[in-house]
Amino acid sequence: MAGGAVTVQLSEKAAHRPKHITESVGVRIVLISIALLFLVLVVLLPLLSVFIEAFKKGADVYFAALRDPDALSALRLTLTTAIIAVPLNTVFGIAAAWAISKFRFRGKNILITLIDLPFAVSPVISGLVFVLLFGAQGFFGQWLQAHDIKLIFALPGIVLATTFVTFPFVARELIPLMQAQGVQEEEAAASLGARGFQIFWRVTLPNIKWGLLYGVILCNARAMGEFGAVSVVSGHIRGETNTLPLHIEILYNEYQFAASFAVASLLVMLAVLTLIVKSFIEWRTNAKSPERSADDAH
């Protein structure tokens, strides 16, 4: 669970405590204040500052920064990258979760650990591995050059690095979910004569669709926001190999702060949207599972 992409549901039950096993009102207020102050300083202020800095020079500068040709081409590249990387990792995530949750085999724990590998690797190193493979001095560098194929400092390198970094997200969201659901429903379907994809479409997918959706949108948010790995393989060619986060960096380093924060605000909105979808999914799952709500009623 190294991704941390675990959905936790706040249960009302745990918050409803008899007086003798909770803290005094004073202690509660102090703890809540500490928690809130910490979150304001570390999370909320930075978020607000993005919009305030972005509009510091007025709405004109804001929209001009977004309409800038370089910004638009960065947006296009970011979207293209996500459109390739996210479906690939989604198919992988479903396959991996199916194999791991529905069957027993040796080395399953090793496989789960290996899926976590990209989480443990620094984004810069994730980019480095592809430069070592496909860069000019890399293992396949000369062969690629001889055949006039450009992977590094071009779209394929960016897609590869992004796919590597976002590799575990869907799998990590689906594996615990499908493990918890067990195999009974699928086995019942199989014994009634359903075939492979029929079982998946009719039985498994309806059960996992919300978890899958969250995995996909989180994977997408990370794919669109990846900085370190993409920075290594992109070569920073303006208007060509700059993604949105790289474009933000360039503007920032050129002291065009308002423009930089304007582009950043797009990515903040993407992150907020991601979290809204997550909350919606949690609300759906809570509403859908009667056991849990019956539990909460006590």
Binding site: M1, A2, G4, V8, L10, A15, H16, R17, P18, S24, L31, A35, F38, L39, L41, V42, V43, L44, P46, L47, S49, V50, F92, A95, A99, K102, N109, L111, T113, L114, P118, A120, V121, S122, P123, V124, V131, L132, F139, L160, F164, G182, V183, E187, I199, A221, R222, G225, F227, G228, P245, E249, A264, V268, L270, A271, T274, L275, K278, S279
Partner: protein, 282 residues
């Protein structure tokens, strides 16, 4: 309970697709992750031990490791304390806006690191909202190791909260009730009864935040100031070496970091495996 349904005694499953799904999983994993990562090991083995040692024992490289490991450690420590408080408050108390706060915790997962980097810098730089207040006190935050730690606190926050939260949620009231009946006061109950239950989760969260911090790049480069020997992190030094086409140097530095990350990953998996087993046998 979950264990009893998924643990089947039948050796063969009636479900289809085992070969296809496992085969594709292993193929995709190998092509995209294992083989590229193995490239680093192959490249490093091209260095003589002296060359390798010469690169990684360079004063600037050692300094960058120190910055990376120390700031990650302190950030993980801060998250350990505040993450526990936040998880505690979210699970056990009721207050307005709790749902909103809960979703805010995931922000560092969803927000691009570069955006976090520039916005934290904007606030904690000497002319920023908070930096302005801290400056008269003689406290410089941005462009010092403190700034790096701050960025890593942001990045690591969800790890501790999200690993502790479910454990805290599932904790039985009865144990606490018993402690109260035996005459234990609240603080003592916490220390003797609740905290021991949370330790595996706290350790996992700490290790996750620490591991993430060591490798973090995007949020740190803006706020760190990147002064060699002082505020230069190891991932940035890899980047610098790459820009100078010093592939061997970059690989050697990366190799040391990878080994540390792998050890941490194994530790984290071991911790989780242990706590899962405890849940099943309990």
């Amino acid at each position: 309970m979950k264990g009893s349904t998924s643990k089947r005694t039948k050796p063969r499953s009636v479900l289809p697709g085992f070969g296809l799904s496992l085969g594709f999983t292993i193929f995709y994993l190998s092509v995209l992750v294992i083989i590229p990562l193995a490239g680093i090991f192959v490249k490093t083995s091209g260095l003589t031990p002296e060359q390798f040692w010469h690169t990684v024992s360079n004063a600037r490289v050692i300094a960058s490791y120190k910055v990376s490991f120390l700031t990650s450690f302190y950030a993980a420590l801060v998250n350990l304390v505040f993450g526990l408080i936040i998880a505690w408050v979210l699970v056990r108390y009721r207050f307005p806006g709790k749902k909103l706060i809960d979703s805010l915790i995931d922000m560092p997962f969803a927000l691009p690191t570069a955006v976090a980097g520039i916005s934290l810098t904007a606030i904690y730089a000497p002319n920023g909202w908070v930096g302005k207040l801290a400056e008269p006190l003689g406290l410089k935050i941005a462009f010092t190791p403190l700034g790096i730690t701050l960025a890593l606190i942001f990045i690591g926050l969800p790890f501790v909260v999200r690993t502790v939260q479910p454990v805290l949620q599932d904790l039985d009231n009865e144990v606490e009730e018993a402690a109260v009946m035996l005459g234990a006061f609240r603080w003592r109950t916490f220390r003797r009864v609740i905290l021991p239950e949370l330790i595996p989760a706290l350790l996992t969260g700490f290790a996750l935040a620490f591991a993430r911090g060591i490798g973090e790049f995007g949020s740190v480069v803006f706020i760190s100031g990147n002064m060699p020997m002082k505020t230069e992190i190891a991932p940035l030094l890899i980047m610098t070496k790459l820009e100078q086409y010093d592939y061997k140097g970059a690989t050697a530095i990366a190799m040391v970091m990878l080994i540390v990350s792998f050890i941490l990953l194994l530790l984290i998996n071991y911790l989780q495996w242990r706590s899962n087993r405890r849940v099943v046998t309990a």
